[in-house]
């Protein structure tokens, strides 16, 4: 049976969604519905849809995470920052570069936590810049330093 919008919505409505189980049961048929939810007005469902999309689609072919990273609601951008950690490097890095420029400290923090062990050169340069910027929030700078030192 095809995956319906209601199937996807039902998987996201729990207070504590079971993302791994939902990704396994819904599969890629869910992606158009997830993309629609990310673009919608319900920030509860948009943020949860962002994360689930990243688990189903590590290449972000549906652009769900990319869309969430540019969402007007910070809560959804946080979800994008967390979801980026599930994406492959090629998909994740442009999204993380966008989110590391966000003015919101929490979003930058979550984006840094989603950086993989071996970031690409552009992302490495961005993180190095943050680690050396005395004007940046201490949380962001410290995390950036840890990534650079660890790398």
């Amino acid at each position: 049976m095809p995956v319906t919008f209601d199937d996807v919505r039902a998987a996201l409505l729990p207070d504590e969604p079971q993302y791994a189980a939902a990704a396994a049961s819904l599969g890629t048929d869910a992606l158009p519905h997830l993309a629609a939810l990310v673009a919608g007005d319900d920030i509860n469902l948009a943020s949860k849809a962002t994360y689930l999309a990243s688990m189903i689609d590590p290449a972000d072919t549906s652009n769900a995470v990319r869309t969430a990273a540019e969402h007007s609601e910070p809560v959804v951008r946080v979800a994008a920052a967390g979801a980026a950690g599930n994406l492959g490097g090629d998909a994740a890095e442009p999204i993380l570069l966008t989110l590391l420029d966000d003015e919101d400290v929490g979003i930058r923090k979550v984006a840094l936590l989603s950086v993989r062990a071996t970031p690409g050169p552009e992302l490495t340069a961005k993180i190095t810049e943050l680690s050396q910027d005395r004007g940046v929030d201490e949380v962001v700078r410290t995390l950036s330093e840890e990534i650079i030192e660890g790398g």
Partner: protein, 320 residues
């Protein structure tokens, strides 16, 4: 209208009156200052009870927090100034002249201030109308006490966006009070912790994450059996809330996207409750549905007898 059992009514040892302790203010006491709950049990009133042995038309005064009778022409003098107000109040019904009801007796109506006061002590309290309260013309009123409480401390990093903290507490009280468990708001604190405002909760099962450990270290001397609820902007990944907590630091995280029932649901987990249903057989009339408290169809949702037993067995549910 649905019947609504509301706990968190308290006796004030200064004035002997009954007052509501569910708001940040402790009201205004005719004996001076604010009301004081020292030595009080947790009393429960019933809103919109359909008749019987109960007398309706008792009201909460939003100015002094006291309970007063609105069935007479006079509204009675309010300790906060002017007369009592019933703006925003439900219609409370109190057991009247019915000895068979096993609730605490000896509560009286004061014909001077219209308030309800306890006549079980040598003192007659302090009346705003002057002197002490009067029992002249009053019947015997009885009020139930909730035998057990959970004590909740609220720590706010970001206020929830869909429902206020008070709306969530009210939702929780509707469910918990109905099964004899009071909900005390023991304290509220704002926390400025930007690094933890979007809290990594992992899979929200098993051991807490490093960020949860860090967040839950902000109990700031609350009691060992008190629950601390951290209101954050979001969890990573996105949940409405998460009840995983470090050992010995009972509490939960509630995100800004939470429903009205998420707080009661997460505290249910902390008290030992599991989800009660599956996706194939959802139970949307229950607080502990695992299919989303946003789907709840019967407000307030139910907790069943076995769940109540688990909740009352928890060391976190303490004698009132």
């Amino acid at each position: 209208m649905p019947q609504h059992i509301q706990g968190n009514w308290r006796w004030c040892h200064k004035c002997e009156g009954l007052w509501f302790n569910g708001h940040a203010t402790k009201g205004v006491c005719p004996a001076g200052g604010a009301h004081d709950l020292t030595g009080s049990g947790n009393y429960a009133l019933i809103d919109t009870f359909p008749g019987g042995a109960r007398q309706p038309n008792w009201r909460w005064c939003g100015k002094c927090e006291g309970l007063w009778f609105a069935g007479n022409i006079t509204k009675g003098p309010c300790p906060a100034g002017g007369d009592h107000s019933q703006a925003g109040s439900g219609d409370y019904s109190i057991v009247h002249n019915t000895p068979s009801v096993p609730e605490q007796s000896n509560w009286r109506w004061c014909n001077k201030c219209q308030g309800l006061w306890f006549n079980g002590h040598a003192t007659k309290g302090v009346c705003k109308a002057g002197g002490t309260h009067s029992s002249s013309g009053s019947g015997d009123y009885r009020i139930a006490q909730l035998p057990q409480n959970v004590r909740v401390h609220v720590k706010v990093l970001t206020a929830p966006s869909r429902f206020t903290v008070n709306e969530m507490l009210d939702g929780m009280r509707q469910v918990y009070n109905a099964v004899g468990i009071g909900v005390d708001l023991a304290g509220t604190e704002n926390l400025n912790l930007p690094a933890l405002n979007d809290c990594d909760v992992g899979a929200c099962s098993g051991a807490p994450t490093a960020e949860q450990v860090s967040l839950f270290s902000n109990r700031n001397n609350v009691g060992a059996n008190d629950l601390v609820i951290y209101f954050v902007r979001s969890t990573v990944p996105a949940f409405n809330g998460c009840a995983t907590h470090p050992a010995g630091q009972p509490g939960a995280v509630v995100a800004s996207i939470a429903s009205q029932w998420t707080l009661g649901h997460e505290i249910g987990h902390v008290l030992g409750l599991a989800h009660c249903d599956t996706a194939m057989a959802p139970l949307f009339d229950r607080l502990m549905t695992g299919q989303g408290t946003d789907n709840i169809t019967n407000a307030p949702p139910d907790v069943i007898a076995s769940e109540v037993s688990t909740m009352k067995s928890s060391v976190l549910t303490v004698a009132a």
